[in-house]
Symmetry: C2
Subunit: 432 residues, 2 copies
Amino acid sequence: MVEKMKAYQELSKEELQALKTELETAYVDAKGKGLKLDMSRGKPSVAQLDIASDYFDALTSQSNMKTEDGIDVRNYGFLDGIPEAKQIMADMIGVSADQVIVCGNGSLSIMYDTVSRSMTHGVMGSTPWCKLDKVKFLCPAPGYDRHFAITQHFGIEMITVPMTPEGPDMDMVEKLVSEDESIKGIWCVPKYSNPQGYTYSDETVKRFAALKPAAMDFRIYWDNAYAVHDIYEERKDTLLEIFGECEKAGNPDIVYEFCSTSKVSFAGSGIAAVASSKANLDFMRKSLTIQTINFDKVNQLQHVRYYKDINGVKAHMAKHASLLRPKFEAVLTVLDKELSGLGVGTWTKPNGGYFISFDALEGCAKAIVAKCKEAGVVLTGAGASFPYGNDPQDSNIRLAPSFPTPEELAMATDLFVLCVKLVSVEKLLGKV
Amino acid sequence: MVEKMKAYQELSKEELQALKTELETAYVDAKGKGLKLDMSRGKPSVAQLDIASDYFDALTSQSNMKTEDGIDVRNYGFLDGIPEAKQIMADMIGVSADQVIVCGNGSLSIMYDTVSRSMTHGVMGSTPWCKLDKVKFLCPAPGYDRHFAITQHFGIEMITVPMTPEGPDMDMVEKLVSEDESIKGIWCVPKYSNPQGYTYSDETVKRFAALKPAAMDFRIYWDNAYAVHDIYEERKDTLLEIFGECEKAGNPDIVYEFCSTSKVSFAGSGIAAVASSKANLDFMRKSLTIQTINFDKVNQLQHVRYYKDINGVKAHMAKHASLLRPKFEAVLTVLDKELSGLGVGTWTKPNGGYFISFDALEGCAKAIVAKCKEAGVVLTGAGASFPYGNDPQDSNIRLAPSFPTPEELAMATDLFVLCVKLVSVEKLLGKV
């Protein structure tokens, strides 16, 4: 296959036809292997979970169940969470503990609640959104499908904002936010973005902090899900801490920040937190105190006893990195080897996070995902990373290398590149 | 004090005056003791929590973290909860496991979410309540203050329904519910009601199951918080299982039932569940699947490994009962000894649950609670058990004997009866 050195666009119709025949044969062979692999979701692997097995010895029948302040975690009360857990979560994202409320077992439900509360109770005195004719959110895309699912569930209109390696297109964000009072929020994954693995530049963070929204109840939903999720010790991204910039810009209330240990300790059994200004937190507490007596303080204490402090978390994450690194590299090696120079796709090479974002030729993503599935490799549904599940270019595919083994990933990616080639050839033949 | 054998109403003004002087002296003495006691909230005692200390050995680094079906509880997924936890929660309230979703660390947040979801998304296809001019709930009172706080928070109008030892006044419930389409729900604590400790009669349960509401989105919020919380083995109340009755009455979707282990394992760190018809649960799942990836399955597994099954729960609750019994009796003994026959109050003698309900002379509750507080005994705020915190009779006081020791309770109740007497005398003197 000398053709692979040459961009497909430069091939003649006859060369493409010959290539197509060759790829089809390879695809039939691949299907015959009966693969059953899943690169669809950002799930930690069993090996990652096993790293934390000592977590289950961190509290025993012999343990002191009180915090340093004497709070018995087994009984009611302390809505904000225990001080030690607040400190760890605050350190994870570089804020102070009094800016943090530690909540339940995942940050998604905090985000859902935050939107839900805005629907029924508004934001710090604004009209409840359910009383408004129109509420809109900006959605940098490709982005996190579960974010978009929340806004869609509440009937909030989603406006796609293009993503760049520096973050969302800030010219567009600034313009829309300043002009349209019905825009109430923007979803952001500022570090190791889902799915690209991009980290917002300092310039982008500063422009976010300095936004002058038309709506007083506009907030930035800053989902710092991958704050401590570096893969390479020697080249890790650094995200500028946004609250400090908000303060400087005279915008103290514009950000809600979310984080969790779901991809630190256990997925969906970690602890999650929201950070914001005192005014925002106090407004939240008015609802939270009706909603619950307290979040699970036993789980908070167990995290504290296990990790001790942020250094414990960082040491733990270095072990995660050593497991994730070969997985990302298994995928990237195949992509580089098989697709470089062919002109049929581009992909990201993140320094952390859980995903690789692949952009195929326009109109090819759905067909590639379908072909992979037919041969036993499940990918995230094409379009899932866009509002309403609709990628207008039908080009983006999210690859999630965390769960399978490196060997499985190499096999899955072999199939993936084969499908990319085959669909691309078919696409080009349709054009010529 | 021979007067105490005679009802205060039968005393002359002079006798009341003399009694008042005597009680005032006793009150000054009592204040001098510098008591610091709290009978305000239904908190488990440290001894109760200590019973479950082996819970923390139920999962260790050596444990198999998979359920019988092979679900790894440390990873994402399984919104409904793990099958073994569903079974325990179902058995706790006498329903089948497929009627149950196991949620987070407390049932209050499930109830809050259920109301919140109805506000934004309606109930199985009905108009979202936030789009309606008026939404009302029936509130049997005295009742649970946190229930009323939820409906108040969402601006839902609360209509008080009187409570009887058989349950709410069902004539009134039936009439209101059948006539008024804006009535969307009723709060119930059907077993060992908060604060009376009443258990609804079979007749009451059947009438609930057979309600013919004007509103298709009317639901009964059946908070079975004390399902396994008997205090006396030999005389425990039995609540008729309501879903069976709903089925018979052709009303399968009319009930949401809530329960938790907050007062079984740990307060605010247990597991909670909602039970309902398949149609109701499927409607809930549409939101839940947006709201969270899963609830905390590690905590669910730890409960399962610790309790094994419902028999483990029942054996555990027998230990709770042995701690709670002397506490209830410490309070009741003082009430009986000091107030019987005086005509200044009536009180309940529950077979389970967490509270005793005391009814003072009309217009006396606030003054009694204030006098107790002044002398170092904190009670639940007078009126807290009524919608809007407003007891129209100013008569009801909730006593919560679970947290203090029997000795502390005897002291606290001594002060309480003294305050009841003093305020009653003052009240009667104001009248004569």
